[in-house]
Symmetry: C2
């Protein structure tokens, strides 16, 4: 069964432009490779109630939800509280993670560090091969940290768990035609192949093509047929390449 997903990116630093969010793109590409359709991304501030409301809306309407950010030791790291509130569960402390934090920080460990051992009651803790702490998973929600290096490490580890062997098939056709010139042809192809997502991307800066047309779908034959249809109907002088 095709699955869909949503992401909740948590952090004032993204909304103020201090930090550039790269996690959304990494997540989007990973999910695409796994054949999971990312339907929605919400960026919200570090506020317990906002996180809880957004998460409740997202997790009830998507198969999987990934959160990013707000799991560090400081006052504005309130994601765990927000997730717990969304599920109507108390926040409890994981003794296993507390122990890891004690080992990692030794005498320097503060109360703030131990906040990172908090989790919603009943959450699962997934150990990761390389990331320092486990990932909190509760129902269909994966709670990931905002630091890109750790976000990516954890997501790479989660791939095995998420992979159901159903990826998208993709093809691309590059043309010298502008989007406006082939728009009606693309509409025709999209109508003829309803299972194929047809996308078009204009190169604003100089390249050897003007428009890249992409075809994505679960049905590899339909994807190929849709790309074939474009190549067949395109003015041969406008065709650049296909991949």
């Amino acid at each position: 069964m095709p699955r869909n997903a949503a992401a909740l990116i948590i952090g004032n630093e993204i909304l103020s432009g201090k930090i550039v969010d790269t996690n959304t793109t990494f997540l989007a590409r990973t999910l695409f490779e796994l054949g999971i359709e990312l339907r929605r991304v919400v960026v919200c501030p570090d506020e317990v109630e906002t996180i809880a409301q957004d998460l409740s809306a997202l997790r009830s309407t998507h198969d999987l939800v990934f959160t990013s950010g707000g799991v560090g030791p400081t006052h504005d790291d309130v994601t765990i509280e927000g997730v717990a509130a969304s599920f109507g569960r108390p926040v409890v402390r994981s003794e296993a993670v507390e122990k890891m934090i004690r080992q990692y920080y030794g005498d320097r460990a503060t109360d703030a560090h131990f906040r990172m051992a908090n989790m919603p009651e009943g959450a699962e803790m997934i150990r990761s091969s390389k990331a320092p702490w486990p990932t909190v998973v509760i129902d269909n929600v994966f709670v990931l940290p905002g630091v890109p290096e750790i976000f990516e490490l954890k997501l790479v580890d989660l791939r095995k768990r998420l992979d159901q062997g159903q990826g998208f098939h993709s093809q691309a056709v590059y043309t010298l035609s502008g989007e406006g010139e082939i728009a009606s042809l693309l509409q025709e192809i999209a109508d003829a192949f309803p299972t194929v997502m047809v996308g078009s991307y204009v190169k604003w800066k100089a390249e050897d093509y003007r428009t890249k047309v992409t075809f994505d779908g679960y049905d590899s034959q339909a994807v190929t047929d849709a790309a074939d249809m474009l190549v067949a109907k395109l003015d041969p002088a406008q065709f650049v390449r296909r991949d």
Copy 2:
């Protein structure tokens, strides 16, 4: 009066990871400079009904809403239809823009190109000094294109209209302390200065500091006092610099 804002980023290409969204960061930084608090970003697919629903939710709860993407000539460019649906207005064609398109494309102009002259009935068209087409504005909603170069051009032009002379004041303190070690101090400062947003950013990769603490707010004295408090209470050996 402080104003807040939301962004609706429209496009399957961002949700599939084919295109990296840079418009959100550019918008976030511009709004921050103008003292407008960006409270929420939603990324949604190219679907009329989804766009209409999201926009209705965002524009009723924020002072300003900026949309990005979905205003080109192809079948998946349905933002104008979505915006019109949100306002319950029909889509009409702007004769002025139609004329610009005819001048720009000449004989190559297709029906698809002329779709870019569509707008919700009653929308305002703001001419921009450098961007090829005007920007559609309706009520508190600014409809911007997804192509970053044009998005940025248009937003730079909109600054004058949006500027009410009320920027955020910002200061930063860099320290060798880890976030966990200063977390309770930051909490204390955040409590003492409720009008100041206190943020902390860990450098994951090597730098001359471990944590950057930021102070932002409309009240420049409070921002300075909050930064002063951190410097005063920080172990001097852990202080790196301030800016």
